[in-house]
């Protein structure tokens, strides 16, 4: 259990059977009145944000969250199938659960799956992934400054802005936190 004095950004709690993360908080107390902590909580499954005011001294239930290392096996329509590297148990996450992280998953890749009890709720891909280009305008060999960019699409469908010198033969290093191009990878 947490106390209201433990509340800070990033604290993960369980409320009404769902995991929430604190995204904003403020201690409020009218001079002669009761103390409260006002919060904005994000539902870690639906992403919905709600306002919740806790009275000082109220207890908050810790969210039963655990990160497990798993391998991404394959995509089956709207479902993504993963396997726990420890016990070979398979779990599934929907496209909705995964969100934009679907653009960083390659078959066989090792990722972290966030479990809420026995329920998988989120996936964290490696910070950097290497993805091959499937679509872009021809490169300009002469331009190596990298200051001007052009659109490109990589094998997972992610659209990314790349320098003009990038060609169809290139593999790109992408930062999964921002979705941005980092550099070309020598192959």
């Amino acid at each position: 259990m947490y106390e209201t004095s433990d509340i800070k950004k990033g604290l993960k709690i369980t409320m009404d059977g769902a995991p929430f993360v604190v995204v904003e908080f403020q201690f409020v107390k009218p001079g002669k009145g009761q103390a409260f902590t006002r919060t904005k909580l994000k539902n870690m499954i639906t992403g919905a944000v709600l306002d919740k005011t806790f009275k000082s001294g109220e207890k908050l239930e810790k969210a039963d969250l655990e990160s497990r290392e798993m391998q991404f096996l394959y995509r089956d329509g709207p479902m993504f199938v993963f396997m726990d590297n420890q016990n070979y148990e398979q779990i599934q996450l929907s496209e909705d659960d995964i969100g934009d992280n679907k653009f960083y998953l390659l078959d066989g890749m090792t990722v972290d799956i966030l479990m809420y009890g026995e329920k998988p709720i989120d996936v964290t891909p490696p910070t950097f992934v290497e993805l091959a280009i499937t679509e872009t305008e021809p490169g300009f060999k002469g331009d190596t400054s990298g200051n001007t960019t052009k659109p490109a699409i990589v094998e997972t469908g992610l659209k990314v802005n790349v320098p003009l010198f990038v060609t169809m033969e290139d593999v790109l290093k992408i930062d999964t936190r921002t979705g941005e191009y980092v550099e070309r990878v020598k192959k």
Partner: protein, 316 residues
Amino acid sequence: MTSPVGRTGSASERRQMLQRRGMVLRAIRQFFDERGFVEVDTPLLVTSPGIEEHIEAFSISSKTRRRYLITSPEFQMKRLLAQGLDKIYQLSHCFRADESGVHHEPEFTMLEWYRTHQTHEMLMRDTEELVSDLAAKTKQWRSVVHSNLRGCEVNPPWVRETVDKAFVRHANVSSHELVRDEDFFRTYVEKVEPRLGEHKATFVTDWPARMASLAQINPKNPEVALRFEGYVAGIELCNGFTELTDAAEQRLRFKATNSKRKARGAPAYPLDEIFLNSLATMPPSAGNALGVDRLMMLLMGKQCIQDVMPFSNDTL
């Protein structure tokens, strides 16, 4: 809602902040000195820290006795009124346990002042003059609109609105319907307080009699106390009232407050008998207590009071 920001600022910004803090403290003293007030400095270490249902004190024990750090200099300043001083002010550190946030610190600076033979009406006028005077003297510190503090106009006269009207306007409910304190204060902090003094500084008046504390009950309306709070940009700056001078009534209120404290597992605090006795000779008076760090924060355009203090508690 603003979560605490990192107590940021370069060394030169911190130096400038401390210079400005010093200037505001001097300007406050000048304001009261020019009006014939006597500056006093009463003890911080006392036998009773103030008896409020929702204010927690620090207690300090030696081998032979227990003392408390003041939560406000109220008892001692009123004893000086009983001894014959008629206009006094004090800039004092006060201590309140379990209060920590962007507008709260366990140790903070309070400006408290009293006038005998006056009511809280006069104290409201003092407050508007003081805050607008300080805002004018520091206008070059704020870039956008000089006479405003965080979008709130502070020139006199400030808006005067009853607690009940504020509840109806901002929360669509009469304060009389919120008979449980928890419901009253939950609605207050969620819906009412953030809107008070949004555009124009505001005094919220006519607090429910059960929250009278050390204020006199309105003789014309026993449901409310002669008490006000001043708000700028949703931030509570001060709390003042026409003082209760009836020792028997004050004793009953302290005892009732202590019972409520004990009922929820909080310590009861000793009754200050010397203070209670002094009420017999205290003239009719009015007083106000203003959070200096919050005012400094608004004057300097900062987001949290820790950014206008030499040291905050988490940096000790």
